[in-house]
């Protein structure tokens, strides 16, 4: 089932906020906050995000797709999920 891009953004934001920013209220996390280049998620947390996306949206990342170009902001992640679901 494909999901609406805004729903995806909100779901991913909740996940990032609850899992990776637990000691702050997370209010400052926006759709364009850089996650990887901003030091919020390291390589292990990136893989946890990948597993979450694969399970939530039922698709599989190709090895080369786990990359800053597809994962650095919530905006970019949502667009990538939509592309995978339609592709």
């Amino acid at each position: 089932m494909s999901s609406n891009v805004n729903e995806i953004k909100e779901t991913v934001r909740e996940f990032v906020k609850n899992r990776f920013l637990k000691n702050s209220d997370g209010l400052e996390l926006t759709y364009s906050t850089p996650l990887i280049s901003g030091g919020i998620i390291d390589s292990i947390l990136t893989m946890q995000l990948v597993v979450f996306l694969e399970q939530t949206y039922s698709f599989e990342f190709q090895a080369h797709e786990v990359d800053k170009d597809n994962l650095d902001t919530i905006e970019i992640i949502a667009a990538f999920v939509v592309k995978k679901q339609n592709g």
Partner: protein, 484 residues
């Protein structure tokens, strides 16, 4: 054969024995032993022409590449010592290291050269976007005799410190590795660790000594388990060496079941504790490989080792002392002496690093606390000081505090390191802001990314209203641990 006395002679001997073997490969490029020997000769000639010689130092600051390897051998052939700098670290830190090292020349990525243009002048281009540049200042400080390389590690004063290694000490380690692992020219070694990290000494010099193939792993691939699993299988790596963190990530997220790892003979790990539950996951995926836990600070390289068996462990031992070393346990702390120990720290007093016994033997004090089990194997217990290991990198928590305390909004910071239930080191920065300081975790992390190497960026940022102090007015870390 004459006795080899310098690291670069390993290449010269292998180039004679195996001229057409692949020495190094990276992405879709590779270079034979004959070619590597020739290209490093050219670099050596260029460097000698601008004053590199025995007693001087040459820095290299670039991503991994075949030319990086040629440069290392070129520098060593010129008689100088190589000083590898982490190109991905903040530029101010790198400027400090290059200045502190008083290098006569640098070999640097073209896109970084402009940061150094006031100090260095362009001499020539190498392939793959590297530039050789000469220091404009005249330098007088001579290296100690036989210096081969300087590796900078985290320093508790906030300033990185350079560990100096001689050719002869490095060769002790290389020769010990040959005895234990008996590699040959048909092996394929991984080069996962960056060249400024001491695990790279094994990769570079043991593989070259035996005429084997060295597969350089791009930094981005090195921390991306799906690509890494594919690379290990496709490149038919037979001898793997990395930190446990990487192996753990590979086993957990690499989808290893998709590939055949039948070529992997040895899996060596070092740099931190490998939690036993995570080790088992890896062992189940690559059951045929032989596993070794190697232990040793940068100052000694590997000094104890342990071959894993099928027995049940609660913790993987660091094993027994290497044949070229002696060790001594003083108040639980492990002291090391022997022919492989570093020469000292560059440009710094020894900082109480050594201890002389009543027979005038000089021991390096590791700061690591150990126990001994029933079979005489050492078990790592922890640190005497505030140094932690994260992804194999050593981090002085005080270096993070010094960087944070320079932030305009921060009144005082206190940094703690604690392993979580998975054995992963979690670094927490507890921050007392100035009255009008902005409480933003995201901006604080961004600041850290810009001012610290990425492996030092704290996992958690916690803002507090007050910090606990001891009676001697120092931050009370024990109390602080209870607060977070």
């Amino acid at each position: 054969m004459d006795k080899i006395e310098k690291l670069h002679e390993l290449l010269e001997v292998s180039a004679g024995l195996f001229p057409d073997n692949i020495a190094v490969c990276y992405l879709d490029r590779s270079i034979t032993y004959h070619q590597l020997n020739s290209s490093s000769n050219l670099i050596s000639d260029d460097l000698k022409a601008i004053g590199a010689k025995e007693g001087s130092r040459v820095a290299i600051c670039a991503p991994k590449s075949i030319d990086f390897v040629s440069s290392i051998f070129g520098i060593l052939k010129s008689g100088a010592a190589y000083l590898p700098v982490d190109y991905s670290s903040p530029i101010e830190r790198n400027k400090f290291i290059i200045q502190n090292g008083e290098v006569s020349a640098i070999i640097i990525s073209k896109e970084l050269f402009h940061y150094f243009e006031s100090e260095f002048s362009f001499v020539s281009d190498l392939d793959n976007n590297l530039v050789i540049a000469k220091n404009n200042n005249s330098l007088s400080k001579k290296s100690p005799p036989d210096l081969a390389y300087i590796l900078y590690t985290s320093g508790s004063t906030g300033i990185p410190k350079g560990v100096m290694y001689s050719n002869s000490a490095a060769l002790e380690f290389v020769n010990w590795s040959s005895e234990i692992f008996k590699p040959s020219h048909i092996d394929t070694f991984s080069s996962h660790a960056p060249f400024h990290f001491d695990l790279s000494i094994f990769d570079l010099f043991v593989s070259i000594k035996h005429g084997a193939k060295l597969v350089l792993i791009k930094e981005e691939v090195g921390k991306q388990p799906l690509l890494l699993a594919k690379l290990i299988a496709e490149q038919k790596i037979s001898i793997w060496y990395s930190t446990p963190s990487i192996l753990n990530m590979l086993a957990e997220y690499g989808k290893m079941e998709k590939y055949d790892f039948g070529n992997l003979r040895f899996i060596l790990f070092a740099g931190e504790v490998f939690p036993i539950t995570q080790f088992k996951v890896l062992k189940n995926k690559v059951p045929a490989a032989v596993y070794y836990n190697l232990y040793g600070p940068t100052e000694t390289n590997v000094c104890t080792y342990y071959r894993l068996t099928d027995q049940l462990y609660t913790q993987i031992p660091i094993g027994k002392v290497c044949e070229h070393y002696r060790c001594l346990i003083v108040d639980e702390e492990i002291f090391i002496r022997g022919s492989g120990v570093m020469l000292g720290y560059w440009n710094l007093p020894e900082q109480d690093a050594f201890w002389k016994d009543s027979s005038n033997n000089v021991w390096y004090k590791t700061g690591d606390l150990v126990d001994i089990d029933g079979s005489g194997n050492y078990i790592f217990k922890g640190r005497r000081d505030r140094m932690v290991k994260r992804n194999g990198y050593r981090i002085e928590l005080d270096e993070i505090e010094v960087a944070l305390d320079k932030h305009d909004f921060i009144s005082k910071s206190a940094v703690l390191g604690n392993a979580n239930s998975d054995g992963q080191m979690i670094i927490s920065a507890i921050i007392l802001l100035k009255t009008d300081g902005e409480k933003s975790v995201i901006k604080m992390k961004e600041y850290c990314m810009n001012n610290l190497p990425s492996y030092m960026v704290p996992n958690d940022i916690v803002f507090v209203e007050d910090l606990p102090y001891t009676s001697s007015h120092k931050v009370d870390y024990q109390k602080l641990k209870l607060l977070i």
